[in-house]
């Protein structure tokens, strides 16, 4: 069924391409080449999958507590900004720098998400709305920071002729990108995978995870049995933000050319936060399926890069990507509705 709906999505995209005088087959081939087959490409894909997965994991945690956080894009950007501020304005001792930078990034994301948490539990502002609005505030705040040298802006020597750009992270402070079979990707990929396992374990097998899920399923029962919705909810939101911030810092310190080339620039987040949210929701808010979903979304992104060379207007890749996401949404929904119909039929028969 998944295959069928993907085929339908591709068919629609192909109709669009053909209708405007393009040629469909090379576009599809370019998508596959760009994401996996061409040399060095699957490493690139993994490098993009890692931040997507991190963002998604954070979303899973806050979603389990019954909170709808849709502000990952802003939290990610804030994380990156905190990481930049730390690495150029504070700075840690040598080898520790990378680790501290990542932690600072996580802190940035957590702070931004906690603003929403504060509004939620202190003033009763729904977190759906505050996290969404804070995204746009974050974009402007980082834009502001990039105008001032004491905040994020690089000094004139390393700025070159560019405006609004941070310094470049020096070589020894970057996240290592070992080369495996001709593919290189930052080791944050392993970190993200390990964290996925950890999140799955914590949510399924620990008291804390159980309480969190209880809060999500039935807040009133949770409150009665001593789970403070304020403490647990605010913590879950903060952790969710921390993951997004970590993703931002990891993109900055290990992203290579895909993300600003070790510099913070306007538009740095490049929809990774939004896409990470999509990943989590596609994985139905479970940690391990998010790994697969993150890879699929990363494939679409890297594959898109190769479509330009086929002579078809590159904007088509956004269309393909959108259609594919919508297509992937249909089967689980249809299955869900069918199962319900069957269950209801069975229930009426029994009566």
């Amino acid at each position: 069924m998944y295959a069928l709906s993907v085929v339908v999505a591709l068919a629609i995209s192909s109709v669009i391409v053909e209708a405007t005088g393009g040629d469909w087959w090379p576009v599809l081939k370019a998508l596959v080449d760009g994401s996996i087959k061409a040399p060095g490409r699957w490493g690139e894909t993994l490098g993009i999958a890692a931040p997507l997965l991190l963002v998604a994991l954070g979303t899973v945690i806050s979603a389990k507590a019954g909170l709808i956080n849709i502000g990952q894009e802003g939290q990610l950007l804030m994380g990156a900004a905190f990481a930049v501020f730390f690495s150029f304005r504070i700075g840690g001792p040598g080898p520790l720098n990378v680790v501290l930078l990542l932690l600072f990034g996580a802190l940035g994301g957590a702070v931004w998400a906690s603003a929403a948490g504060l509004l939620r539990y202190w003033r009763g502002v729904p977190e759906v709305l505050s996290t969404l609005l804070l995204v746009f505030v974050a974009v402007q705040a980082v834009g502001y920071g990039l105008k001032w040298q004491w905040l994020l802006l690089a000094d004139e020597a390393s700025r070159g002729n560019r405006n609004l750009v941070s310094e470049q992270l020096t070589k020894d402070n970057r996240i290592p990108r070992p080369d495996i079979f001709g593919n290189e990707f930052p080791i944050t990929v392993y970190v993200a995978l390990a964290l996925a396992l950890a999140v799955a374990y914590v949510l399924a097998r620990t008291v804390w995870g159980f309480r969190l899920r209880m809060l999500g399923h039935n807040p009133r029962a949770a409150q009665r049995s001593g789970v403070s919705s304020t403490t647990y909810g605010a913590t879950a939101l903060a952790i969710g933000g921390a993951f997004a911030g970590l993703a931002g810092a990891a993109m900055f310190a290990g992203g290579g050319f895909s993300f600003g080339n070790y510099r913070l620039v306007p538009g740095f987040s490049d929809f990774i936060g939004w896409t990470g949210l999509l990943v989590a929701l596609m994985a139905r808010e479970r940690a391990l399926p998010a790994v697969v979903a993150a890879f699929v979304f990363a494939m679409l992104r890297t594959g898109a890069g190769f479509v330009n060379s086929t002579g078809v207007e590159s904007r088509i890749t956004d269309v393909v990507q959108g259609l594919l996401v919508l297509a992937l949404l249909v089967p689980p929904a249809v299955v869900f509705l069918r199962d319900r119909r069957r269950a209801r039929a069975a229930a009426t028969e029994r009566v």
Binding site: I16, T20, R123, L281, D318, L326, A333
Partner: protein, 313 residues
């Protein structure tokens, strides 16, 4: 000395008609989108594909003018353009039970790609709509030109906003719609098809947003570009929230946010650079602030953004 200059510049801006004309232009765009979004949110669906609806409407409007050389056709097609996005959003999220945020975000990205792609391939040409001045009223100083001397699609708003109010507060349909937004379980039990009402409210939002996009095209741009809407859809959402989910509050938000934007543009024209980031973040900050202050008194529809599936709470 500088400060005095600055204040006199502010005075100039505040007393110049063009500030108000620009403000009305942006406010109208926001109002078209926010009216529909308000209806949608009252039915309990946080429709975040307004941005896509606006853009789709603007493109369809340009296409309509390109094909028929008529602003009216362009506007109609614009409405259809918004409606198409609305149908996808509504069917996916309130029939197939897919997550409304996933659908909305995806649609926003999809529409930017699709309109950008089609724009390159087709390159539709549009033109400005003719301006219609309402006699006597247009001569009111300062505001007259801005409110009564506008391109004619602007006047649709004067009908659309009261119509929306009437639909939501004075018809059975509106009552059922609000019930679906406040307590879907009860609404369902009393025989209202909750998801159907929500779908219809999204269609309505798509229609008005599509009109809004087309209006903006004919009033200000006359050529399509995939960045023309540039986040105004999200400001429209902010306006609905700012207005505390009442129609008049929402319109107030539209006027306030559009006014701030126009004020900034006019000041820039006089050579004064305000802190642009702060002004751009202003709608969102003001909205968050208003929510934080009034959150206890003003509350969103109780079931806002909660999907309704019969038998599941």
């Amino acid at each position: 000395m500088l400060l005095i200059d600055f204040f006199s510049a502010v005075g100039d801006v505040l007393s110049s008609e063009s500030t108000y004309i620009n403000g009305a232009l942006f406010a109208a765009l926001l109002a078209f989108a926010a009216t529909g979004e308000w209806v949608a949110e009252r039915s309990g669906t946080l429709n975040i594909s307004v941005e896509g609806m606006l853009l789709s409407g603007a493109f369809a409007g340009a296409l309509g003018y390109h094909l028929a050389e008529s602003v009216a056709v362009g506007l109609m097609l614009g409405g259809v353009g918004g409606l198409i996005i609305a149908v996808v959003q509504a069917e996916m999220s309130h029939r197939l039970t897919a997550d409304q945020f996933v659908v909305g975000l995806t649609l926003n990205i999809l529409v930017v790609g699709l309109t950008g792609f089609l724009d390159r391939e087709i390159d539709p040409r549009a033109d400005y709509a003719s301006e219609v001045e309402i006699p006597i009223l247009v001569d009111i100083p300062l505001f007259g030109q801005a409110l009564f001397g506008e391109p004619w699609p602007f006047y649709l708003l004067y009908g659309l906003v009261p119509l929306s109010w009437w639909l939501v507060y004075r018809t059975r349909w509106g009552l059922e719609l609000r019930a679906a937004g406040e307590n879907p379980q009860s609404a369902d039990v009393s025989g209202i098809d909750v998801n159907r009402r929500r779908r219809q409210s999204i269609y309505y939002a798509g229609l008005t947003s599509g009109l809004g996009g087309a209006y903006f095209l004919f009033a200000r741009l006359a050529t399509f570009d995939d960045s023309v809407i540039g986040g105004q859809g999200f400001i429209a959402i902010a306006a609905v929230i700012f207005g505390g989910w009442t129609l008049w509050g929402t319109m107030g938000g539209c006027v306030l946010f559009a006014g701030a934007l126009s004020f900034q543009l006019s000041l820039q024209g006089l050579g004064y650079e305000l802190n642009t980031e702060l002004l751009q973040a202003l709608p969102y900050l003001v909205t968050i602030g208003a929510m934080a202050i009034f959150a206890r008194r003003v509350r969103p529809p109780a079931a806002l953004a909660q999907p309704f599936i019969r038998g599941l709470k």
